[in-house]
């Protein structure tokens, strides 16, 4: 991960991120369906400009690359099988997907308050000696460690 960040900064002049791509997708969708709301909303409107789509963002392409790169690696190392839900044998697919959805929503909201997610704020942030990034890293793993026990049965 560390080497990846160094390489990314060397090539692109900036760090990695993942939540930014989702944010771009959300802003684009909002702009397409409810343009007035998107333009008047103080948060959405920050990412809307008249000459370029919010999707015209390196994080979007980075995420596309992660998807296809991961797929290629999966094919080469024979990990690509039929689409399935990976979960603990003790729970149902429905429970697993609901938990994932709730977790995803919390992660999305949290990443916007924290100005980045585990890759954008914690990884790239601490790599550039950002104090905020270090705090995010500590809080992220600290909280995760503290409450992991509560959600253990989703996995094992």
């Amino acid at each position: 991960m560390g080497l990846l960040v160094i390489l990314t900064v060397y090539i692109t002049g900036r760090g990695l991120g993942a939540s930014g791509a989702v944010k771009s997708a959300v802003v684009t969708t909002a702009d397409a369906i409810v343009p007035i709301h998107a333009h008047t909303n103080p948060y959405y409107s920050k990412f809307i400009s008249s000459d370029k789509s919010p999707m015209y963002n390196w994080l979007v392409f980075e995420s596309l690359g992660i998807f296809f790169g991961g797929l290629l690696s999966g094919v080469i190392f024979r990990r690509v099988k039929k689409i399935r839900v990976e979960r603990s044998p003790k729970i149902t697919n429905k429970t697993r997907l609901t938990a994932a959805l709730i977790g995803g929503i919390l992660f999305g909201i949290g990443s916007q308050f924290g100005r980045g997610c585990s890759s954008g704020a914690a990884l790239s942030g601490s790599a550039t000696f950002s104090f905020g990034g270090v705090i995010v890293m500590l809080v992220l793993f600290g909280t995760g460690y503290a409450i992991a026990g509560l959600f253990k049965k989703l996995w094992i």
Partner: protein
């Protein structure tokens, strides 16, 4: 915003300085026309080679797409016409120097022929199928008896259709991006490749898929080769040509062209196909999906970008 002073004795809105007359209908049609040409080419090719039995999906099932694609494509072309009721005037003349005349006549022949082709396999595809009318059954017998000559005619027409989708653009001598003779073979190759992709997506036969996979890999390499030569030609050309190429080399179409056409539409599916041939498991729908998607983006990018290139400065 880029402002520009333009002095001309002509006042032709939507043509000078930028062409602004072709919207989504034209690239969609070029795509569907190429797709149909590709499917029909391989169907007829394997009938001529006498390999109907080994290539069932190619010869029978996949050809169902061709007439549907042609009809939707022609619908889009018709939609694009300003004076819809005058379309028949294309058929009052034959002009060998006009690509549009070639296209109109080719479509006039190949569309019904593709329907007849599918119809002639209906009894094989759906057991118990009956045409109800005696003359239709007689016609079917006659077509089945003459399948090889029929296939020859349709194969030649399919090649003309595939090439014409590119020539239609390259005949525009006022648009430097289009005005290159590589566009004909490039669009034909792309059409053949998308056609193959559609067949591969439908085929369940391992042997058939492997054969098509191999051909498709070669076609993608040829396509990349032609695209490289397209850009080499532009870069070695006059200022208007380098200007046209710069739309793809740092200009506004750079991302859509290189990311979606070259990487995701050609290079990545080619890599997956090569891996598949070497025995790796690749989801069957993935390479065809990417090739079909890349082909569609390619048509849209070429039509959009070509309209804003020009000789006048």
């Amino acid at each position: 915003m880029k402002e520009e002073l333009f002095v001309s004795g002509r006042d032709i809105p939507n043509i000078d300085p930028y062409l602004h007359i072709w919207h989504w209908q034209i690239p969609l049609y070029l795509y569907l026309g190429g797709l149909a040409a590709g499917i029909l080419f391989f169907a007829t090719y394997y009938v001529i080679k006498g390999k109907e039995k080994q290539m069932q999906t190619t010869v029978k099932w996949a050809t169902i797409i061709a007439p549907i694609a042609l009809v939707i494509g022609l619908g889009a072309l018709f939609w694009d016409l300003k004076h819809k009721l005058y379309f028949w005037q294309l058929y009052t003349t034959i002009r060998f120097t006009s690509p549009m005349s070639w296209g109109a006549w080719t479509l006039m022949l190949i569309t019904p022929m593709s329907i007849v082709w599918v119809a002639s396999y209906m009894k094989e595809m759906i057991p118990g199928w009956d045409w109800k009318f005696g003359f239709l059954n007689k016609f079917e017998v006659w077509i089945i008896k003459n399948r090889v000559p029929f296939a020859w005619i349709m194969m030649i027409l399919a090649v003309i259709l595939g090439v014409y989708t590119g020539i239609l653009l390259s005949a525009f001598n006022a648009r430097p991006l289009w005005n290159t003779s590589i566009l004909g073979p490039l669009f034909l190759t792309s059409g053949l490749s998308t056609g193959l992709a559609a067949i591969m997506w439908m085929s369940k036969d391992e042997h058939e898929r492997k054969t098509l996979n191999r051909i498709d890999l070669i076609l993608i390499l040829v396509e990349l080769f032609l695209i490289i030569h397209l850009f080499m030609g532009f870069m070695a050309g006059s200022a208007v040509k380098t200007e046209a190429a710069s739309l793809f080399l740092g200009g506004e179409f750079t991302v859509s062209f290189w990311v979606f056409v070259i990487i995701l539409g050609l290079a990545f599916p080619a890599t997956l196909e090569a891996l598949e041939l070497r025995g790796f498991h690749v989801p069957a729908w993935l390479p065809p999906f990417l090739i079909l998607f890349g082909g569609l983006v390619f048509r849209f990018v070429m039509v959009e970008a070509g309209q804003i290139t020009r000789f006048l400065y």
